[in-house]
Structure formats: C-alpha cells, structure tokens
C-alpha cells in the first residue's frame, strides 16, 4: 500500500483532475463524498468528506435518559438497528448492574443474528451492484431481507428503526405467529446462500473484479482498527461473540469464517459464510428458547452510579462499542459510539491511491459503510 502511486516520468500521464464522487452518487451508499484527484482512470490522491448526515447524536444523548437514547442507535447504523440497540443496552446494563432474563438474552441473540443476515444481504448486494451487476443479486438478497424485516415488523412494529431492545431485556415478546415464520426462514436460508455463492462466487467476471482488489494485509487491518468482516476477510480470526461472549453466545456452536487474501472477494465471502453461521445460531437459539419473562423491570429514568463502561457487540460491520460515562444523573455524562463504519474507513485513502476508479468503488463497497453511522 504505497502512498506514492504515479511513477515519475510516466510519459502517458495527463494533468490530474479533481473529481467529486458523492454526495449524490450511486455507489457511495448515502451522502458520502470522496474528492479524488485522478489521472485517467487512476486515483492519484483522495480525500474523504463526511458529515452530511451529522446529527450530533452524542450531544443529544447527553440530554436524554439511557432508555431514551436507544432510538438514536437505530438511526446510527440504520441497516443494523438491532446491533446498535443491543450494544447500548449492554453498556448501560454493565454500568447499572442490571441482570437480563434468559429468555431476553436468547431473543436478543435471535434478533441480532437476523439483523446481521439482513445487513449482510444489503452489504453484499450493493457490493455486487458496485461491481456492475445490474441489481439482480441485490434484489435477490432483498428477498430474504424482506422476510426478516417482516419478522421485525411483526414483533416490534418497525422494520428498520426497530427500537426493540430495552435495558434489562427486550421490549416485547414476539407474537405466536412469529415462530413458524422464523422457522421456515431459517430452513430456507442455507439454500439461498448456496444460490448466491453459485451465482457470484464462481462468476468469472465477478472474480476478475474482486480478486486481488483492495487487498488489506492482516497487520494493516489490525493496526487500522478494522473490525468485523473487514478484519476477518484479511485472515484475522477475531469475533467478539467468541472473544467476549455476551447474551450467552458461548452456549451456541458456530464458527468464524476467515478469508485468506484480504481482498474484496474475501470480505464478500466472509459475509456470505457469516449468514450461514448466523442461521446456525438462530436455529440453536430458537430450539432452546427458554420460557420466562422477556424483561426485568428497570426504572425508566435509570440512575447508574458514577463510573464508566464500555459495552460492545459484534455488529454486521464490526465492533459496535458504546462508551458511557455516568455521573449519577439520569442521562449519560458522555455517550460515545464507536462507529465501525467510520473506523473501517481508516485505510480507505491508502487503499484508493494508485487504484483505478472501478477498483476503488468496489473496495468502498466491500468496506460496507452506512453513512448514518459514520456521521452519527
């Protein structure tokens, strides 16, 4: 990953020109802007400009109780609201010392894993669209995502901004008709994944576009604070569900998919495999779903002792961490969201410089950003 890309004395080189990719561009997945200096097809320099969706969530959070802050986490990573909910709840529970009932933990696992599948469907689908497949794989992946969102809607009335987790459990027990539908979905998912892998992973053009493109070495990935599939794609077997099991993940049998080359293709395949693993987890959680309450009663205006806590979960895009500082009041003194989408972009500049425009677009797609979470 050299920062210096254009060799001096390249006779063909033209004048570098400035191109703005975004904020209104089909492949920036939101209002995200790259200001690139290009020479022909090649990127000579790049600057990333974010903040178009900045809502100062962390400041707003200082004015609201812990429970009132849960909806903000929906709107940070709006493609993985459940993971955001869960992260905040874990941090707040750690801060206030709240115990969570068994059933609530299992439900949290089910919903977090469903959310992971939905988010990976979106992430991989848009990645393939970035590689030029005219949205067909995206729409196929939306088929399963749609079923998952229907399940969310059935349970908590919302599809994207679910606001489902609560401090001490989850907001509602899923209705009776939820379980058969989830059951059939879990039965169908592995064959759907096989279908996508068959359609894309053996497609010569897709291989040509993604193999050896946007390579991140394991050392760079760790040093650049990458997490999630972006880190695992580079061959680092790191998953918070194994490393720091929460919600009883240690009870479930699953494996961590790890790539080898650290290129776009590996990140894609890791996500595909994670869908399979998530399906396994859901199946186990569903089969062993304990009865009991779905929530412990916690005061609405929770007043934790002064102190701090860092709660984190393995979201679809990596480590979703919440750093909370309590001062004894009902609202957090400091509320910091460690946004994986933003931090995964740490290496974007060095990846993009020297790459061609199509490669950079695919690389950006493989980093699977959500602008709501970058900007917060």
């Amino acid at each position: 990953m050299s920062e210096q890309a254009v060799e001096p004395g390249d006779a063909a080189a033209g004048e570098p020109y400035i191109l703005n990719i975004g904020p209104q561009h089909p492949s920036t997945h939101g209002v995200f802007r790259l200001r690139v200096a290009m020479d022909g097809e090649r990127i000579v320099d790049m600057d990333m400009i974010v903040g178009y969706l900045h809502r100062s969530m962390e400041k707003l959070a200082e004015e609201r109780t812990y429970t009132q802050n849960i909806p903000f986490t929906d709107r940070a990573d709006y493609l993985a609201a459940m993971s955001g909910n869960l992260g905040l709840c874990l941090a707040a529970e750690r801060l206030a010392g709240v115990e969570v009932p068994e059933r609530a933990s299992a439900l949290r696992v089910i919903f977090a894993e469903l959310q992971r599948i939905a988010s990976h469907a979106m992430g991989n689908g848009t990645l393939v669209s970035d590689a030029g497949a005219w949205q067909t794989p995206l729409l196929y992946m939306f088929r399963e995502r749609e079923r998952i969102l229907d399940l969310f809607e059935m349970t908590c009335g919302a599809r994207l901004t679910t606001n489902y987790m609560r401090i001490g459990g989850v907001a509602f027990d899923p209705p009776a008709e939820f379980f058969p539908k989830l059951d059939s979905l879990v039965d169908d998912l592995p064959s759907c994944v096989d279908e996508y892998v068959e359609l894309l992973a053996e497609n010569e053009i897709f291989l040509a576009r993604t193999r050896g493109v946007g390579v991140i070495s394991a050392g760079d990935a760790i040093n650049g604070s990458l997490t999630g599939p972006q880190l695992r794609g580079s061959g680092v077997p790191w998953d918070l569900r194994k490393a720091e099991p929460y919600c009883g993940y240690e009870r479930y049998d699953f494996e961590i998919p790890v790539g080898s080359a650290g290129d776009v293709y590996d990140r894609f395949m890791v996500r595909m495999e994670e869908v399979r693993q998530s399906t396994r987890i859901i199946r186990q959680a569903l089969d062993a779903l304990p009865p009991g309450p779905h929530k412990t009663e916690v005061p609405l205006a929770l007043r934790p002792e002064p102190g701090e806590a860092y709660g984190r979960v393995e979201g679809p895009r990596g480590e979703v961490g919440f750093y909370l500082v309590a001062d004894g009041g009902p609202a957090p003194y400091r509320f910091h969201l460690r946004a994986p989408s933003l931090i995964n972009l740490s290496l974007l500049r060095s990846l993009a410089i020297g790459a061609s425009l199509p490669d950079a677009v695919v690389t950006l797609g493989s980093l699977d950003i959500v602008v709501g979470e970058i900007d917060r």
Binding site: N223, G224, S225, V236, E244, L300, L342, S346
Partner: protein, 171 residues
C-alpha cells in the same frame, strides 16, 4: 463494578509500564491508567509491541470533557491474548488542549482523532492531517464540549427530562 469482562486491572498495566518506561504513569485506577501526555506515544508503542500486553489494536478513541480538563480515552485491544486495556491521557487545562497523536502507533486513530478534534476540540499534536471531520472549517466551537450550548446563538434543547422532577438534571 462496571468493567469489561476481559479488561486488565489498571494496577498491572501501570506496574509494567512504570518498570519499562519510568515516569509514564500519572494515575492508576482499578480499571484504567492515566498516562503522562509527554510519554503517551512511547507508552502506547510499548504496549503495542510488548509480549505481555500485545495491544495490537486501538479499538476506540474518545474524548471526554471534565470541565477543568479534557480526557482522551484509549480502549486498546489485544487480539491474540484477548484482553482489553484502557488508558487515558489528560490535557493540563481547558485552554491547553493538546495531546500527542497516536497515529504513528495506530493508523486506526486517523479518523477517530479527527473526530475528537472536530467535536471536542482536543488538539492532537503530530496528527498528519488534523482537520474537522463532520463540521466545516470555521464552525464556531466544538459541539461536544459541555459549554457549547452557552455559546452565543445556541439554545439548550429540552428544558428537563420527562419522568424527572424539575431541577434534577443540573450538573
């Protein structure tokens, strides 16, 4: 006690750091260690490279406003040993806000430090590209500071919390 399940005790980290780099620790807490700003980069590099701690990844960086000073919190993660270390650095006052940049140790600090600079106004010395991240150059003040709402032209949001007696939220 609110601590991560695999978080190392502050005393252990502090003892090792003091042995290797005398004078680098300012304050020890059961959960975290406050480092001297002057030796921060050195200490982080030592933590990253040491066999015992192997803090290979900077998992989160965030700044907190404590009225009289700012604190930068580093959550370091060892992937091989699966342990977490929390270290902090403090600015001397509200006016002198500079802390050395961790960028040369952790490239993952690039954007996180820019974010802290933008929203909290902490200056990271030695950052290769310290610009505002979300807001534009020339934006007045730093929104995450506790006194931001007292800036001219800004009004506090909610007067009080629901479910709360009036006057309780004053800090």
């Amino acid at each position: 006690m609110p601590a991560g399940p695999r978080q190392l005790a502050g005393e252990r980290v502090a003892a090792a750091l003091e042995a290797a780099l005398p004078g680098s620790v300012v304050e020890v807490h059961p959960e975290w260690v406050v480092l001297a700003p002057g030796r921060l980069v050195e200490a982080l590099r030592w933590l990253r490279d040491s066999e015992e701690f192997d803090a290979a990844q900077l998992s989160s960086l965030c700044a907190v406003d404590y009225h009289s000073y700012f604190e930068v919190v580093y959550h370091l993660q060892s992937l091989d040993l699966n342990q977490q270390i929390v270290v902090k650095a403090r600015t001397t006052s509200r006016e002198d806000v500079s802390v050395p940049s961790a960028c040369e140790v952790y490239r993952g600090a690039l954007l996180q430090e820019r974010e802290a600079y933008d929203l909290m106004g902490v200056g990271f010395e030695g950052h290769p590209d310290l610009r505002r991240l979300f807001l534009w150059e020339g934006y007045p003040g730093h929104p995450l500071r506790k006194d931001f709402l007292q800036l001219e032209g800004h009004h506090p949001g909610l007067p009080r919390f629901p479910f709360e007696e009036p006057g309780v939220q004053s800090r």
